[in-house]
Amino acid sequence: MARGDMSGWLVAGAAALLFLSGCAAYHERMAAVDEALARGQVDEALKALDADGREAREQDYPLYLLNRAMILRQRGDLDGALLALAEAARRAEEAAVISVSEQAAAATVNEGRRSYAGAPYERRLIHVFLALTYLELGRLEEARVEALQIDLISKALAEKGEPDDPFARWLAGIIFEALGEWSDARIAYDKALAAYTDEGSPYALPPPRQLQRDLVRATRAVGLADEARRLRERFHLAADDPTLDPEAYARQGEFIFFYLDNLAPLWRETNTLVQATEGGHLVRIALPYAVPRPSPVERARVRADDHEATAERAEDIARLSVTYLEGQMPKLVGRAIVRAVAKEKAVDKVQKEGGAVLGLIMNIATVASERADTRTWSLLPDNVRLARLLLPPGTYPVRVILEDRDGRVLARRDLGEIFFRAGDKRWRSFHWIDPRIARWWTVPPDPEWIRIHVHGG
């Protein structure tokens, strides 16, 4: 090939690398959205997200929709949130199929060239949030469809070794119970309890007391009195606890409250030098690291007149995010090193055959194109808590109170006057975002984390 032809190819290649590398990383683009949400300016957050979404690449569109759904929920536009979540679910499922062109781009440019399919826990949470949104709209039958979808996706994920999600199962049980389908409710509650106590699972948590009561009640409802008694004794629940009796339960109204706490971890980018096995030289690689954003909320209480319940921790999404990323690190590091070595060789060749200037251009292009894939559904909450408040028929002003560990009130939210007849169930959620969320934007990676995950301990 003539030297002139070569130069054209090389410049085009460098330009393509730069073009395909994209602009600002996801975590940088989300800063304006987070900031607006922390200030309580939901419309501003939506504007910032939509501005970014208009320029979003096709590959990032599912993530844009997921984040949009969370903002629309904050805004009270539940129908809009449903549309966004349903479309995101469809696109994420499509994106989960391997793409030849995206694999090629990811191998040569960066990991972010792949379509966003979401982590397994996120793909299941899409159905959880669809179910929750249908419930808040009072569309119980459609929430039931999502409960079945949760079962379906859980089975598919289990085939790939992903543990069961207890909160998703618990929510499915609540839906079945509301429809009077006690047998399905009991099975779902039972699976939830098993998943909470699955040692080694990132979903494991101390089983909520409410879930234990739900399981005993459902077991009684299907006529397994002895089994219900055994469970009640195992959980140390009082024999005269009225919430264990399905008939007494049905004579009350019920307020089912979901507290969504702060925001899920942000994935930021860190650049580090590692020694490549091949050739032994040092190469620069960009990797994502998780920055959890825990909130100061210790207790989320829901109160209706003198009736009160404290929401119990049902899902630790922060832990799911961190664990998932840690599990991905060996693959990410390996692929980043291969990519870095290939890019370095390409620069070397260009320099030799095209001269110093072209070599420099190619070098800039390869460095600029190396970006960590920091995409994650970051507008999910850090954790989810759940309370079920039984109320005698009547009208109640319902209020949410958030407190820190010293009992100081961090926020109060009136959810309005709600009317309950016997057997009525009302579902509501409240997503609170720490006004000081910005403090997490600049957290550097823990050097120990780099030592373990990048340099192999």
């Binding site: 499509e94 199929v97 090629a104 040569t108 979808q149 260009v350």
Partner: protein
């Protein structure tokens, strides 16, 4: 040189494949085209046609006609979606209503949500329409039978392969006696193999 050529080829392929445009083509409404394997318009139409054809060929119809000397009035009640999918049950109900009405063998009564609007119109006519054209209240045709049912699914899935089994159960109930006069069932089974690779 080979490494660079490979790199550029891959980049070029990525750029070209990423640029595939949307294509739209009009197709006939009767044309069967399964895309995802989910419940679609064809399933809705075929199930409605077959089940209505079945219900109209059963003894309850002639028995009713012999007993009363008129066509039975039917109303469609709740058809529950117990499936894994967000099936548009309204479309299915509309398909059943159309088949029943077009058969000419039964009279059809408006659904509760439609009746509200009709009653409001009659009330309005009492005030505003001329006496000759006014439609009086209390002359509605009461339904003799109600059609109820559900759509349920069983999905067996392994990796990219799945068998989707749909079952539609409909029951026709005599409103006067609560007697079930007809039970119909239609099953659809689909074998779906998902894509294992995208361009």
């Amino acid at each position: 040189m080979n490494a660079i050529r490979t790199l550029f080829t891959l980049l070029l392929a990525a750029a070209v494949l990423a640029a595939c445009a949307t294509r739209v083509e009009r197709i006939g409404v009767e044309e069967v085209r399964d895309l995802s394997g989910e419940w679609n318009d064809t399933d809705s139409r075929l199930v409605a046609e077959e089940m209505v054809s079945d219900v109209l060929s059963r003894p309850w119809l002639t028995e009713f006609q012999q007993r009363t000397g008129r066509r039975p009035a039917v109303i469609v009640g709740t058809i529950r979606n117990l499936s894994h999918e967000h099936i548009n049950v309204t479309t299915f109900i509309n398909d059943i209503e159309r088949e029943l009405i077009n058969s000419g063998k039964v009279d059809f009564v408006a659904a509760p949500h439609e009746r509200g609007e009709l009653r409001a119109e009659r009330k309005d006519q009492e005030l505003n329409a001329s006496e000759e054209t006014r439609k009086p209240m209390g002359q509605e045709l009461g339904a003799d039978f109600m059609l109820q049912g559900d759509i349920s699914t069983i999905i067996d899935r392994e990796g990219k392969r799945q068998v989707r089994y749909y079952q539609v159960d409909l029951t026709l109930i005599d409103l006067a006696t609560n007697r079930k006069v007809w039970i119909g069932q239609k099953k659809i089974k689909k074998y779906v193999v998902g894509k294992s690779v995208r361009p």
